[in-house]
Symmetry: D2
Subunit: 317 residues, 4 copies
């Protein structure tokens, strides 16, 4: 149950079986930092290549394929004053006939945002002369891209996501959340990066408010947990994550994984799970921009059978 600090100086554009930067164990807490999607650090200096450069990987002692890595997101604190976003809607979320006629910009346009960590808000700093005018939204820092090394020696681009996690861009991966990942290689090899100070559902501008962050996370190792897709829980909900295109398939993955989870961890057979989910399931569209889209399937924890017969899937007090 150690707390360790790690200052990154190498970054990765793929999530794969790269040499670990540090070994940690079940119960440890790590204090580190992540750069933004363009590789800009706390001083807005380019220290890594563009494309969601990752901090890590962290080798988790005793982790084996078939186990579950539980990552508790303790703190995500933007560590500089300004973040940036795109200021156009991604063509892929608009009616095709509309894209060519009206939007048709052809060049990426950006906006700059002032991030006030104390007031916990984010204010449009430039362009200030757009039709939206003065514009402030709540700061809700999140981790855009994190996950573990995939199976079979794959090295998967941090532009996309799959069973191992990756660039899920889910606004729900914020402070106070426990994320869970299936483990595919010895040591799990956990990566993280792509900080956002805020983001809408779907990441439909192609970015959140991108910013470097100081991050504190804890890890727990759960042995022999059957799972196929990432998931987790927050104060109110248990959730599973599906990553794929189109949205329909991402939703299929997330829903199927929830059905597995309700069975394996809560003892619900398919009919019981169907009765529960049919009237109470909730979905979030996490991202509809990246090569793989992300859909999150959620159930309010108060609706789950209690107590869950198997520890490991629920928050430890």
């Amino acid at each position: 149950m150690n707390t360790v600090r790690f200052e990154p100086n190498t970054y990765h554009l793929t999530i794969g079986s790269h040499p670990p930067v540090m070994e940690i164990g079940d119960g440890d807490t790590v204090i580190t930092s992540i750069v933004d999607a363009h590789g800009l650090d706390a001083n807005e200096r380019p220290v890594a290549p563009r494309g969601n450069p990752m901090t890590g990987p962290f080798f988790i002692r005793d982790a084996e394929p078939g186990d579950c890595l539980e990552v508790s997101i303790e703190q995500i604190r933007p560590n500089r004053e300004f973040g940036w976003s795109r200021s156009t809607i991604a063509p892929g979320v608009l009616d095709p006939d509309f894209v060519g006629n009206v939007v048709g910009t052809g060049t990426a346009q950006y906006a700059r945002w002032r991030v006030d960590v104390k007031q916990r808000n984010v204010t449009l700093a430039d362009p200030v002369d757009t039709s939206i005018g003065a514009h402030t939204v709540a700061m809700r820092p999140m981790i855009g891209c994190f996950g573990v090394a995939p199976a079979f020696g794959q090295a998967i681009s941090t532009a996309t996501s799959a069973e191992h996690g990756g660039n899920m861009d889910y606004r729900g991966f914020t402070e106070g959340v426990i994320a869970r990942f299936p483990i595919f290689v010895p040591g799990a090899l956990f990566f993280l990066g792509d900080g956002h100070a805020a983001q809408g559902d779907g990441e439909i501008a192609g970015t959140g408010v991108e910013i470097s962050c100081d991050v504190t996370f804890g890890v727990r190792l759960r042995k022999n947990v059957p799972m196929r897709w990432p998931g987790g829980e927050n104060a109110t909900h248990l959730f599973t994550v599906g990553n794929a295109r189109p949205l329909d398939q991402a939703l299929q993955h997330a829903t199927t994984e929830m059905l597995f989870l309700l069975g394996s961890a809560y003892g619900l057979d398919e009919r019981g799970a169907a009765i529960l989910l049919g009237q109470s399931v909730e979905y979030d569209i996490a991202n509809v921009f990246d090569p793989a889209y992300t859909v999150v399937c959620k159930v309010r924890k108060e609706l789950l059978p209690s107590p869950p017969p198997q520890p490991g899937y629920t928050r430890t007090s």
Copy 2:
């Protein structure tokens, strides 16, 4: 500004240019009833054929193509004690490889629910011996299927939805909500039906808790409102609705319509709208079961420029 009562005795399985049952005007309130998806009334008697039989149509005086029909859902009150749902997950929301191996029931299975209008909850009444055990969820009555006659003489099945509304199965169409529809034919011809006492996102069991209801709704006619898809607002959000398969296209329709709406009713150009939506848009997956899926694009009203320069899109006090 009259309040009228209408007791239905004919029902329609398509939304089209059928003979109106009543003429009403801008500002009128209608008290009527809807049967459930199987045509069962307040006494669970079959009074209409299966497949979302509709009450109506109501002819709106002075309504012309190009206008907007605003329907204020004042009250949806289940008018009998028991509702029903399916108790299996629709195969289309599960991984195809999983469907054949594990679910494979082949026969529709149903559950019965006791609806307590005073306590505003819904309790599983049968099967009580399933793994879910005792199970109570909040009553949140909604209208599954409503809309206006489509253009070109089409008569569209109440199984599906399109620009005219229809079987959107959106849990957000509940009491206190204003729904808006583009008008395609003189008199608009408004239909409603398919009451649900509760429903999860996506209607992934293929039904909500299906029940007949007494419904009170008000209508306002907004002249010359450019809109292509249904929408509306509730206490906190402005929203637009896209109906199509796959989910990706439903989302494209809803997002494009929101972009139009932010421009036409709130004066936002595309870059301003992109800055707003990029960091603050919210999506609901309304249904992922019907022939057309439904995605809802939402923006918190407090984030909109104020005051809106054009009346008609916002709630009148």
Copy 3:
């Protein structure tokens, strides 16, 4: 076994239970004409509204729901010299990021083609100064939109297609082909229209070479034939048709229907059908432009078990 002539003077923009223009019987042959998608007749005069106006409906004597209507396309002869097409690629078949940057025309552009019925070719007549230069392709006349009245009183727009047929825009519905439709209403009510002198796969310009045509077709009534989707056969292949969005679902419908057909008409169980289809199935992408896309699933007739135990699915000599 009569041959009758019918000269249309009313046209329909929906396929539904409209008053029949003529009653015909099993074995009859009809000589009639169809206007083009814009309602232009043999003299390029507008005689019907735009949007695939239909000739018909023809009432088939003794046809009942559950039967199959077999339409033999004997002749499709363009009856004027010039056809027209769009001369832009539909945005929906291009990468979304590409649409806004490069294409962005915003206005429909058209081309004019000279159709030489004797030489059986089609030559670009205007614009002649485009980069493609002189351009001649084979004439391959086809029926873009045809089908039978759908169930439940629906009236379905001739812009789209479904189980009843409709705007399938399949280049394979050409002379010498037998098309089959499930029957949903007494008399079947057969409609046809939307002549094309040529068309590529997918109808990706949004049109073929649109032209009015004289059409000769024969009808056969097959009693009690289990089928859910249109299909047919040509000289070499047996085929089934799926209409839906996205392409994946259209392919699912067509493949499932082929599996049914191989079972019901050729006695193949699922494993036998899987062995056949797995190594020999062929697919055509008929249209990827209309509200419902169309995929055709084909099997070479020489690979089918012979003789088929049930008549009705194979060409009568």
Copy 4:
């Protein structure tokens, strides 16, 4: 212009920047062999792990990112007597409601085929008692999976495909075909494997007739060729390949690439290309089974402007 032989003894389950097995140059011909998808060699011995183990990579001298690798498939000769296939239809190509009710096998089932290289046919050898009975189809040997190392250090599973090629499972990659790949890393690093003696469109059984093969291929290096997706040509057609899910997106990639190609190599502007493609494009559904589906966009070479102003995209005599 050397002809070299290479006998593989290591295999890869990802396509990435692995150590090359041999360096070859522009104009060289390679005679080598590939094992089947399960890693079985000419003696049906397991010499490599399951999952499309690859022969290679071959380092192409002077190849740089931005160049095009042209692979001429001279010969694909099955080098053993028996191949295997699955004998069930993949659930993903069937209507979801149909999968659970009727198919529901839950276990992979296989068939065994005798491959007669001299007669050039493939005959079902087991099960012989299925409803399909005696069943022989033409041998049409193809390479299921081949391509070049992707960018950014990715190592992409041979289960799937992307811009670099990979598991496209296109029956059109057969003898006499030239395949073209964009080059992402110095030396290109070309891999190949996954031999099929026959396969239907879509690979809907999940396999072709899987078999090890002796393969002869030639390579040409084309410098500075703008291309984003694989493509090629055969005796009659020029083609481009899109790999993605859903089919709609694969088709978008292939069509957009064809538009680029018609512009860059044949001087067609967008309107000229639209006129050509609109009436004459052809599509193949290569695979609708793998994680990324594959659609091929084809144009008959006789319809192309001639002579092409830029060499490199057309067959050298």
